[in-house]
């Protein structure tokens, strides 16, 4: 399925969407850019940290709420669109449900097991407790309420058309996000045949019964790293941070890299992909 079709069919306005579930690697930028091109609105974004991706969706006005532990640019610092939205309501105000990395993982596990919440000893003594209705004190622990995404969008190295996916390297919250989500959209570097995946059933990331779409999107995670395929494009993150410092700069960046780009192939044709190839397996 094409990314355009997958986003059109499975991510409606107002959806709760988990992305960036592997933290710095495997970030589904191609999906986020398609959400922007299709003018999706009122989304709730769910994830632990987001390395620039949430910032772009916020800047494009797609977002109503962020349920996450960290939103910025890992190598550069602040997320300028996130700042403008929270500080000035530009392009619109957004609601923030603060989490820690640990608590967002527990919230997804609670949803995966259909438990109302999971109690934890993290968050004690943090003012984050007052900033998220999904976190409540109960005696000497904090109850982290379940967070169930309508859809999780996950970039992986290998998958087949039926949604059997292999991902490797650090996994962040990808497994629990896939289990917790109502449905999963898989993006992959390589579309392979079932046998090569099912030869190692322990490496299947989540049950195929959750997967509603598989998009063969090589390079779909750029500028984030993909173990065995690409290094992180640090300069691209740097340039995005510089450009997005001003609203105008962000809009120019968005026009150049998203709005005026029909698809991922065109996007990649403007990047020296070969220079990013990694020797790390």
């Amino acid at each position: 399925m094409s990314m355009a079709d997958a986003i059109a069919r499975f991510v409606p306005d107002g959806a709760t969407v988990a992305m960036g579930t592997a933290l710095e690697p495997l970030i589904p930028f191609a999906a986020a850019h398609e959400l922007i091109r299709q003018g999706r609105r009122e989304l709730e974004l769910v994830g632990p940290i987001s390395d620039a991706l949430f910032d772009q969706l916020i800047g494009a006005g797609c977002v109503r709420r962020v349920t996450a532990a960290w939103v910025g640019n890992v190598s550069e610092g602040l997320g300028h669109c996130y700042r403008r939205a929270c500080e000035q309501g530009v392009p619109r105000s957004i609601e923030v449900h603060d989490h820690t990395n640990f608590s967002i993982a527990l919230a997804l596990w609670a949803a995966a097991w259909n438990a109302p919440y999971i109690p934890t000893r993290t968050l004690l003594g943090s003012d984050i407790l007052g900033r998220n209705p999904g976190l409540e004190m109960e005696g000497d622990v904090v109850r982290v309420r379940a967070v169930r995404p309508d859809v999780a969008i996950v970039h992986v190295q290998r998958a087949d058309e039926l949604g059997r996916a292999h991902a490797w390297g650090p996994l962040g919250v990808s497994e629990e996000a896939g289990l917790a989500a109502e449905r999963v959209i898989v993006m992959c570097e390589d579309l392979v045949d079932a046998s090569s995946l099912l030869r190692h059933p322990n490496r299947i990331l989540f049950p195929e019964t959750k997967v509603v779409a598989v998009v063969h999107e090589p390079g779909g995670a750029h500028p984030s790293p993909v173990q065995g395929y690409f290094n992180r494009d640090h300069a691209f993150y740097h340039d995005y941070a510089a450009a997005s410092r001003t609203r105008e700069g962000f809009e120019a960046w968005l026009k150049r890299w998203v709005l005026d780009v029909p698809d991922r192939a065109t996007y990649l044709s403007r990047i020296d992909v070969q220079a990013l190839r990694t020797n790390d397996g």
Partner: protein, 258 residues
Amino acid sequence: MAEAYTDQELMVAVGSREIRDGDLVFVGMRLPILAYAVARNAHAPSARGLFEVGLMRDQPAAGFLGTMGDPPNVTGALWATRMSNVMALMAQGLVDLGFIGGAEVDRFGNLNTSYVGDPARPAVKLPGSGGGADIAILSRRWVTLMTHERRRLVKKVSFITSPGFGDGSPGWRKRNGLLGGGPVAIITTLGVLRFPEGGGEAFLASVHRGHTVEEVRASTGWDLKLADDVSETSAPTDAELAAIRRFDPEGFWTRTER
């Protein structure tokens, strides 16, 4: 600068000395990645590093790391897994030392990385906790590194993202159920602040070469207490500098403003 090393290189060297041999270290973003690499190559050859992205390592990565999730950090990893598994070890009290980046810290070691001003309409929206609050609450002891400025070292943070010693009252952490021991050092561009045994208010323990106690106090947002014997921070050794420059060959972290 005239000196043979940058502020960042000094902070990395000082930070690396907080790592004891055998420690299980929760390695944060940016400078701490270098501090871990330096320590492993010097006095802590049997330390292990945990990365919240979902990794455990012994050897530092062979290549440069822009983030802990970069491919060189996975190659040779001891364990590549889910974030919640890494957090499990810290929640069990098994992490000896954590590093947390901070935008704003107060005299009791509380960190704010969330909101400057009213959270409803903040003057500055900072990125948030990430794993910071988890480390501050659950690791046995932790350290933070930051630029030393009055606006960063404040009397009282307006928002506690990652708790240090709270209101500074004796036993605040224990009383509030916090598992770990709290902060042991604030390493800045001017000196090193430490805390009394059992926690409380930070005091100046050492000043970096080329700076004075008065300069440090003038750059601190509260009336900073002094150790009985404020020393000069030992400068990075040649070995430490060599290691730093091996792991940050372009000076991405240690020779450019970020």
